[in-house]
Each structure stands twice: as C-alpha cells, then as structure tokens.
C-alpha cells in the first residue's frame, strides 16, 4: 500500500507524541476506538483559563493513517477554542493527508477523539463553570 508523503511525514516525525502529567491543570483526555478494530486513539488537550487549547498530546495504536490523523489533529487544535476545535471535520483531515477511501475511517476516529477530549474537559469543568462569576461579560 503506498502512503501519501504527508502520512509518511507524520509517521516518521510524529508531532506531540506523549502524555501530560496526571495532575496537570486543564488537561482532558479522549480515548476512542477499540483494540478489536485495530485502532485506538488517545488524545489529550491542555486548555488554558481563557478556554483556548494551549497544547495537545496523542498516542495511537493503529496503522500509519491512524497515526498520521491523530498527529495532525494535535497540531490543528492548538490555539483554537473548544468550539473551533469541534469544527474540525474528518473530511478536512482526510483531504490534508490524501487518505484513500479504505482509510477514511481513521480520520473519522480522529474527529471522534477531539469530541471525546472536549466532552471530557466539559465534564470535568462543569462544576467550575457554574461557580465562575460572570465578570467577563459584566
């Protein structure tokens, strides 16, 4: 199977591989996929107090396209707000990496990983949000 140059690039030089410390502030984790399917992606985002994603890390068990999709996603979410990050669609990922039809599901999983990470962040910070004074809009 011939891979596109961009997939190969992300595979040889993956961006942001790793994990944040367990107790780091503002970290949320999304884990999607299943070993039985041959694809598991773990995406972590570090969100600043202003709601902007400052940093991201990934770990992926899966084929080259899956690794490339998740690596790309860690690049794309940095500097975005949560809502902007939710706007990243698998079609953008697939286009950027020139994924063949048989590998489109990797980009879908990467999109799901973003959603899962953001959902995790929102769940963790629900309480915090409720008690935040609405000073910014006053």
């Amino acid at each position: 199977m011939a891979y596109s140059d961009r997939v190969l690039d992300h595979y040889e030089n993956p961006r942001n591989v790793g994990s944040f410390g367990k107790d780091e502030e503002g970290v949320a984790t999304g884990m999607v996929g299943a070993p039985a399917c041959g694809d598991v992606m773990k995406l972590q985002i570090k969100v600043g107090p202003n709601g902007i994603i400052q940093d991201a890390r990934f770990k992926t068990y899966g084929c080259g396209s899956a690794i490339a999709s998740s690596s790309l996603v860690t690049e794309w979410v940095k500097g975005k707000s949560l809502d902007e990050a939710l706007g990243i669609k698998n079609t953008h990922i697939a286009e950027e990496l020139a994924l063949p039809p048989v590998k489109i599901h990797c980009s879908i999983l990467a999109e799901d990983a973003i959603k899962a990470a953001i959902a995790d962040y929102k769940a963790k910070h629900e309480d915090a949000q409720r008690t935040l004074p609405k000073a910014a809009n006053a």
Binding site: M31, A34, P35, C37, G38, V40, K42, T60, G62
Partner: protein
C-alpha cells in the same frame, strides 16, 4: 549494510523468485521450441510433449508417485478447485458432506462455500491453539455421508505441519461407509517437507510452482490411481490430461515447474538446515523484546516460517516502519480487507494479537546479513511504536486491558 533499492525479501510464503536455473530451462520453449505438445504430426509437437513428460516425471519423483497420477493445472488454486469440486460432484450420490479446517487457504474455503450454495454441507473444524488439527476431533466430524476431507499440509500463515499421515489413515478407514477421499493442499510443502505418496494415504494433492522457485501460473494435481479416484472435470475442451483438465499445455511453464521440483528434490535437505539456522537466529535476535508471542507450534513447523505478534503495536504500522523489509501481516490474501488474520483468529488469538502479527518467511536467497539487519531494525521500530501506543502505556501502568470499556466506533 543493506544498500539496494528493493527491500530485503522475507515473504517467501507469498511467492518465491524463479531460480535462475529454472528460468534458463524455460526460455528455449518460448521462442525456439514453441510447439504445442498436442501436435502429434510433427517434431515441434513431439519435442514439446517430451519436455512435458520429463517435467511430469520430476514432479512425480519429488513426491514419490507415478507420472500418470500428475495432472497439470494453472496453479494450486485451480488444483484445489478441481480436487474438491471434481470429487464432490462425482461422489455426491454417496453423500454430500465435506470436512475441512478453518485455517485452510481461501482457495479451499471459498470452494467449499461455493459447494454449500449447491446443496453440499461443510464442517469447518477449529484447530488447536497451536494450529494443529486434533485427530479425535477430526474423526468425530466424519459421518457416513462424508465424501471428502481437505487439510493443508503446511499452513501458509504460521507454517505448521499437519499430521497428514494419521489423517490419511482415518479417512481411508472411513466411518462405516467406505473410504473418504482425502485431499491435501501441499502448495507450501514442496521442497520443505518430505512427501511420500506411497506411504501417505492421500487421494488428491495440490501443488504450486511459484512457492518452490518456479514460475507463477502453473501447478499440478496428484490424482491417485490405486485405489482409483475419480473427478468431474471443471475445464472442458479437448480432453487434455486424461479428460480431467482441457487446455493447451504451457510447455515453458511446465518445464520450469519440472526443473524447480527437480532442484527441490536434490537440495531440500541441506537448504532446510541452513534456513532453520537463519530462522532461529531471527527468533533469538528478537527474543529480548517484551510481550512478543510466536503464533503456531514451533516444533511441528517448517523451518522457514516465523509468525510473531508484537503486542500493543498494530501490524500495518510496524510494516510501514520497516520499509526496508518485505514481510506481511496476516496472509497476502487478507491484506486487502480490514479484518485481522482469520487464521490467527481460528487459533484463538484475540483480535489485538491478530492485528499485531508479522509473518517472516525465509528462503533460498536469504542471508545471515539480512537477518542481522532485520533484527536491528525491528528492535528500533518496536521501541518507537510502543512509545506511541496508548495500549503499551496502559499495560505499563498495570491496567488490565480486558477490563476496559472501549468506545468502539
């Protein structure tokens, strides 16, 4: 230092290069001595026929049978089709039940599925976790209406050698309704294990040239004459090969297969020893890596094959990281689909281990330098990929992966 542009070939079970000696034998039959072996009236035909018969004798010699029992086909897939469909159709008045194994090649499994569509019933046995067929379970699956059993000699994915002699005895005895026809797909066995059809109670045996340093597109089928085995032909048109397989014989292909099998007969013993040493060297080199599993029995296995699962690393990503090596993850036949190897699944391997398997198969032209290069490369890449793997991380943290609730798609 590996310098050529093509990767180092470790995929001999997928196909083998044509031995230069074989290629040399083939060429004159293309441009100079191009006659049709069935042309009875002139020397172009006579000499082609002679070459065909000489090659037939070489194939027969490798497996110790009579020349008259060898039929030329386009390959082991066609031989499997002819054997199973041919026997099923001929003997269906006796019964319509067939027994085979889940780890057979698709050429057998898909042929059985096709027969199921025509009213036959097929039992697909599970092998033991080591890949071998259990004799008692095999016997228990045979019924008075069973007409054929098909078990491959050597498995293409894991290289295990089935107990063909014992299985043949069981089929010949039958279960009270006469002998059961026993077909063996020996495509991966020629040149690797000694085959003696005088001793083995095998009725039909499929052979492939391109797995034994011959050309692709030619194979053979052994059809026993004592006791006589009958088949319904699947290719009609001229009655070639005793009416069993019509079609002009490809003299150059046949001469090639004959030469390949002749070389195999003469060089098999020494070659196997050399290859075994190389394979063991590969296994030793990888032995230090944590969490690796060899798939299939190591004892009753051909010396060429090493099929290993590297836990927590997905097979395709590993292959991508080893572009300098030509290997396969699962068999070539399953690489187009997204499913994990059906052979490894049939062994009881869980999905992750099936997805994480790499098959290394060595051959005539593999060298010790190839192995050293491969070991170094694999150790490096496994390290890098495990650093990237969330499953490895969880394993290292002591998480039981079986207890995790996955958000599967």
């Amino acid at each position: 230092m590996h310098t050529s542009k093509l990767p180092i070939y470790f995929d001999y079970s997928a196909t083998t290069p044509v031995d230069p000696r074989v290629a040399e034998v083939m060429i004159p039959w293309l441009t100079e001595h191009f006659g049709n072996p069935a042309s009875r009236s002139h020397s172009y035909g006579w000499e082609a026929e002679e070459a065909v018969e000489n090659a037939r004798a070489e194939v027969a010699k490798l497996v110790n049978c009579d020349s008259k029992e060898i039929i030329w086909t386009s390959g082991a897939t066609e031989s499997n089709n002819l054997a199973i469909k041919g026997a099923a159709q001929f003997y269906q008045a006796r019964g319509k039940h067939i027994v085979t194994v889940k780890t057979e090649h698709k050429a057998v499994l898909d042929t059985c599925r096709e027969l199921e569509r025509h009213g036959f019933e097929v039992t697909y046995l599970d092998p033991e976790p080591d890949g071998l067929v259990d004799l008692d379970k095999f016997r228990a699956a045979l019924r008075p209406d069973t007409i054929i059993a098909s078990v491959m000699y050597v498995n293409n994915e894991i290289g295990v050698i089935q107990p063909i002699a014992e299985l043949g005895e069981i089929c010949r005895q039958g279960v009270g309704n006469g002998a059961i026809i026993f077909h063996v797909d020996a495509a991966q066995a020629t040149g690797k294990v000694l085959i003696d059809l005088q001793k083995l109670k095998v009725d039909l045996m499929s052979f492939s040239a391109h797995k034994t340093y011959g050309p692709k597109g030619i194979g053979a089928l052994y059809v026993r004459r004592k006791p006589r085995v009958r088949l319904e032909a699947q290719m009609h048109g001229g009655g070639h090969e005793r009416g069993l397989r019509s079609g002009t014989l490809a003299t150059h292909q046949i001469a090639g297969m004959g030469e390949a099998f002749r070389i195999a007969r003469l060089e098999m013993a020494a070659e196997n020893e050399r290859i075994r040493m190389l394979r063991d060297k590969l296994l030793d080199g990888l032995g230090g890596i944590e969490e690796i599993y060899v798939n299939g029995d190591m004892e009753r296995r051909v010396p060429h094959n090493l099929n290993i699962s590297f836990n927590f690393v997905e097979g395709e990503s590993l292959i991508m990281g080893m572009k300098e090596l030509a290997v396969s993850s699962g068999s070539a036949c399953t690489s187009a689909s997204l499913e994990p190897s059906y052979v490894l699944r049939a062994l009881g391997r869980n999905d992750e281990l099936a997805h994480s398997s790499i098959r290394f198969t060595l051959g005539r032209f593999s060298t010790a330098e190839d192995i050293e290069f491969a070991v170094k490369l694999i150790r490096e890449r496994i390290g890098k990929l495990r650093e990237m793997s969330p499953l490895w991380e969880m394993f290292k943290d002591g998480v039981d992966l079986n207890s995790v609730q996955w958000a599967a798609h």
